[in-house]
Amino acid sequence: MIFLVDCNNFYVSCERLFRPELLLSPVIVLSNNDGCIISRSSEAKQLGLKMGEPVFKAKEIIKNNNVHVFSSNFELYGEVSNRIMNQLKIFSNNLEVYSIDEAFLEINSEDYKNIGLSIVKNIKKTTGIPVSVGIAETKTLSKIAGNIAKKSLDNCFLIENNWTAKKILSRTPIKDVWGLGNQYSKFMINNGISTAESFMNMDRNWILNKLNINVLRTRDELHGIKCHKVSSCFKPKKSIRVSRSFRNDIDNYQQLEKYVSDFAFLACKKLRKENKRVKQLQVFILTNRFKKSHHSKYFGTMSYDFFVSTNNYIEVIKYSLILLRNIFKDGLSYKKAGVILNQLSPVDEYQSSFMINNDKKNDSLMDKIDYLNDKFGNNKIIFSSQNINDKSKISKKKLSPNYMNSWNNILNLDI
């Protein structure tokens, strides 16, 4: 059977670990630039705070109900997540880390419900994080079981057989089926299919002709036919993206250039950490969509394909700035910018070119930059086009201390 273990309100639960007095209070966590709500405690959900809602729209509710607000502390969440995933290995070696707060486990035994309950208990006790467990024959069904588990008292739900599955699927709206996505569920609804059960009874050939093999797999999975395996091997990233919303809009080209240099540097750093090269580089800039008063809305993006895929800071930054120069329009104020690296490949597998002198000279320079930054702290060595040390870039006003990753920040108690 496949177990989906999903942490409840993960970011909020992490923040509560070291602030136990907030256990029953409404708590929310904001996205990277203190922009939107990305995690809510159940108390905050009850107040009507919405996922993804810009925080300024919820100001009143937050103030009137004394909602505790945290900036996102991804170092902390990452550490807690690692601990949970490690702890889960005692239940099964066949474990797929699906996201920071979700994992699939394959367990074959009897008495699945009890195993599920002991997972809930064990993770809560060892890491302090509440989780829910959905158990079923396939990944797609376990996702649906997981949704029910979240609402149930013991946080664990088992779809035992086809008969229980059928009963549940008739009550599951099509949009809640994992892997269908917005577009396909809209297409289904337009074709008169509104529940998972009616989707499950669709003709296989019709799906293959009108849609595609992945939709068919999802349908089969609802029948209990395993199409997606639990794969414990690491799935390589297909692209790397670094983007931020600015706290204040930017209309100055020079300033934007600095930010884009930063993003390019950070993206390239991630690339190098994963031992990859990039073939295609993309840069985008975006004006403020919430400001109705002035100027037109503008979304500028452009990409560049390297002749030879690269992992060189200098090249990535240089071409990011060339792209920026091409998409920048004067007289607009920009809210957001980003750099995306597409078509990644392992560092020693690349197509070289006889047209270009493959310059290996810079490789050791790049290695030295990484070495120095690792040794003396992040971003001690930067390129002169950057302004990474300008703290005004990212706003994190309500950041909690790094309780688990730094001796200077561990919890202080008066006992």
């Binding site: 256990l23 490690n86 702890q87 561990i410 202080n412 006992i415």
Partner: protein, 135 residues
């Protein structure tokens, strides 16, 4: 002396290999002592907290010490525990008798705390060790 050349990804480097009598310890690969192994049994469930106050001085916990707390360890009678009482963190000796649960300080200056059913009381973990640095 013989010089041997190995190659790694980027560079050649050389290692000197002496041709004398081989070290009698050469084939014994003992690992170094590691404090983490000694002090932390369950890394997934261990947290560290720094304490101040003199209420636990009787068991050797003083201001400025760092406690190692294991959340997966089961508290027994007289265990030193990290717990939460009505939203406050406390480190106390756990005393469970047939009809009551008491939190006892290791310092005569402080009265025992009786935990009642009206308290929000949770034990977070057992204090495994206390680290005191002198320098």
């Amino acid at each position: 002396m013989i010089l041997m050349y190995f190659r790694d990804q980027n560079n050649f480097f050389s290692v000197a290999v002496s041709a004398g009598f081989p070290s009698p310890a050469g084939d014994l690969f003992a690992s170094q002592l590691n404090l983490q192994d000694y002090l932390v049994k369950n890394p997934n469930s261990t947290i560290y907290v720094k304490v101040s106050g003199d209420s636990m001085s009787g068991v050797g916990i003083f201001s400025g010490d760092t406690l190692i707390v294991d959340k997966s360890s089961n508290p027994k009678n007289n265990s030193i525990v990290l717990c939460i009482l009505d939203g406050d963190f406390l480190v106390k000796k756990l005393n469970i008798s047939t009809n009551s649960t008491n939190l006892i300080s290791a310092n005569k200056k402080y009265e025992p705390i009786v935990v009642t059913e009206y308290n929000d009381f949770r034990i977070l973990g057992v204090v495994v060790a206390s680290i005191k640095k002198f320098i």
